[in-house]
């Protein structure tokens, strides 16, 4: 097992400052009532005790909008001017277990199949992920349903807040190199110090209301059974197609490619998109998902069925609960899993 170190919480600013000397550091910063990953500076209000950030860490790997290249036009002549790939080392600090798992989902989509997404890859390989165990998961959290361990978050380096200390353990070679670099600020600690805290977190996570969900039916052989299920007819009804769930989801990674006309040429950029919008599939000759029911169903089928089918059973949901907190009409993936999971399982047993 990797060595354990600790640092007094009071000394964390020193740690951030030290990291900041060589690379940018992003961590949960409170501003105007919201908590988000922001670049650290000396007067930033860092809050490691908050449960989850409003936006997800995906912003740092798949920015909401990102320029691809510029096409300079001279009459009808075109010149393509590419831009350099992102090349700044950075640290993202205090990522919860669910959000770390979400990055693993994105890695599969963007990096596991040829051709890889080179924009995502450039950011991803420049980043050190420092995770933080969740001391106080709340009712909307359901990472346990997906076997994600809030007490033992992954990432390159894992951290825990215990009493007045932040404990840390490198999780891989990249994390080890990172920890070695800042070792001077830490003191050695015992891994066993964390046992009590980990047991407490695990018990909390398991006792949350959505910690056990009927996910067994969401396997490839039930794809058409679930797709054709009559419950979609009422499940979708409240959906207003606002796309909030998509934007606050740590695994939603579909994008649009658009043009922005500047005087100097046309900049082609990509930006987040949502399968909940009718334009998502609109073609000149028609649209293959004409109703909100079809679009609504696509989003959940993708996360619960199609993604696991393509990636060895890995669900496209990590139970972060942001859609539960943010949906203006109180729809969320838990309702879908409960409604369809239970019925399909019962019918199979009948």
């Amino acid at each position: 097992m990797n060595k354990t170190y600790k640092i007094a919480l009071g000394n964390l600013s020193k740690l951030y400052g030290r990291i900041n000397e060589t690379q940018q550091i992003y961590l949960p910063v409170r501003r105007g009532g919201t908590l988000n990953f922001e670049k650290w500076h000396e007067s930033a209000v860092v809050d490691l005790h908050g449960l989850k950030t409003t936006n997800t860490p995906k912003d740092l790997f798949l920015p909401q909008s990102e320029d691809l290249y510029t096409a300079k036009m001279d009459g009808t002549n075109i010149e393509i001017i590419t831009k350099d790939f992102f090349d700044n080392a950075f640290v993202i600090f205090g990522v919860k277990a669910c959000d770390i798992e979400a990055i693993a989902v994105m890695d599969n989509i963007y990096l596991s199949k040829h051709p890889v997404d080179m924009y995502y890859e450039a950011r991803r390989k420049n980043a050190v992920l420092v995770s933080l165990a969740c001391n106080a998961p709340k009712n909307a959290c359901f990472c346990a349903a997906f076997n994600i361990d809030a007490a033992n978050p992954k990432g390159d380096v894992a951290t825990w807040i215990l009493g007045e200390y932040l404990y840390t353990q490198a999780q891989n070679g990249k994390g080890k190199a990172f920890v070695e670099d800042i070792m001077g600020l830490f003191e050695p600690a015992e891994a066993d110090d964390l046992l009590g805290l980990k047991a407490e977190i695990a018990e909390k996570a398991q006792s949350l209301p959505y910690s056990k969900l009927p996910l067994e039916s969401f396997t490839g052989e039930n794809m058409m059974k679930i797709f054709d299920h009559e419950n979609w007819d009422f499940l979708h009804r409240a959906c207003i197609g606002c796309g909030t769930c998509t934007y606050t989801c740590p695994t939603c990674s579909c994008y649009d490619i658009k043009d922005f006309d500047k005087c100097s040429g046309t900049t082609r950029f990509r930006c987040w998109d949502s399968c909940m919008y009718p334009e998502f599939t609109l073609m000149a000759h028609g649209n293959n998902r004409l109703t909100q029911k079809e679009r609504f169903r696509q989003r959940f089928m993708h996360k619960l069925m199609y993604h696991p089918m393509n990636y060895d059973g890995q669900f496209g949901c990590v139970g972060c609960g942001r859609c539960i907190n943010k949906c203006p009409v109180s729809l969320n993936i838990v309702k879908i899993i409960k409604s369809l999971g239970v019925e399909v399982a019962e019918n199979a047993n009948a």
Binding site: M73, D84, K113, I257, R270, F280, M283, N288, Y306
Partner: protein, 277 residues
Amino acid sequence: MQMPDMLIPQVGVVTEIIKETPDVKTFRVVNIKGNKAFDHMPGQCAMLSIPGVGEAMFSISTSPTNTKYMDFSIKRVGVLTEYMHDKMKEGDHITIRGPYGKPFPVDTELKGKNILFVGGGIALAPLRSVIHYVFDNREDYGYVDILYGARSVADLVYYKEIEKSWTQRRNTNVYLTIDRPDDEWDGNIGFVPDYFKKIGFSTDKVVVLCGPPIMIKFVMAVLLEMGFKKEQVYTTLELRMKCGIGKCGRCNIGDKFVCMDGPVFRTDELDHIPNEF
């Protein structure tokens, strides 16, 4: 040097614009040096774009055996295609990236077989790539039947080429039909599925089927009625695409991404995914 990324196109030149029908033109494209932009296989597609207007996926309607240029036969239906039809001139630049998608299995499952091509309207464009490939490697394939239909004589894409070249090939039969009677037409009148039934093909062949969804549906019904199996029939799907590399999510149906797993599918594969195409 920066690595080339699949989302970044190269600049191409439209060397020739050929008017095929009142709403279909063929755009001949080479790269800036005058060569073919990249290699491809029949059935694969490319992203064409005019910056500031739009970018869209089109099937390549020339065969890989053509090493000089690529043709794109394009119907005037949307923002980008209207621009290409109405404003574009020979010599204009265009951007091109690709190739994308899984091709027709011309060197495996189609090899050595008799092939029946069934097409309707603009859908002859992707079929032409396969047809040329078969003609250029004639000894690798058996008998070729081509059944093609359009709304009217004027709407038959590649009509001159069909009459002058395709009908003259050995071991090749071409059957044409139009929807409505026309004074200049002494051939068959009627829809493709009906004409198909009237001709009555034997089942000792593979079928390559492209056309509007409604035509595919009815031809499929006739094929099954005549004893063909779904495993013998290949078709293509058309969905909205942005990236072409299975990431942007638009063309996802079931566990398939049409830009990567398609656009060519054997029709029995389609039984296992939701009917959202």
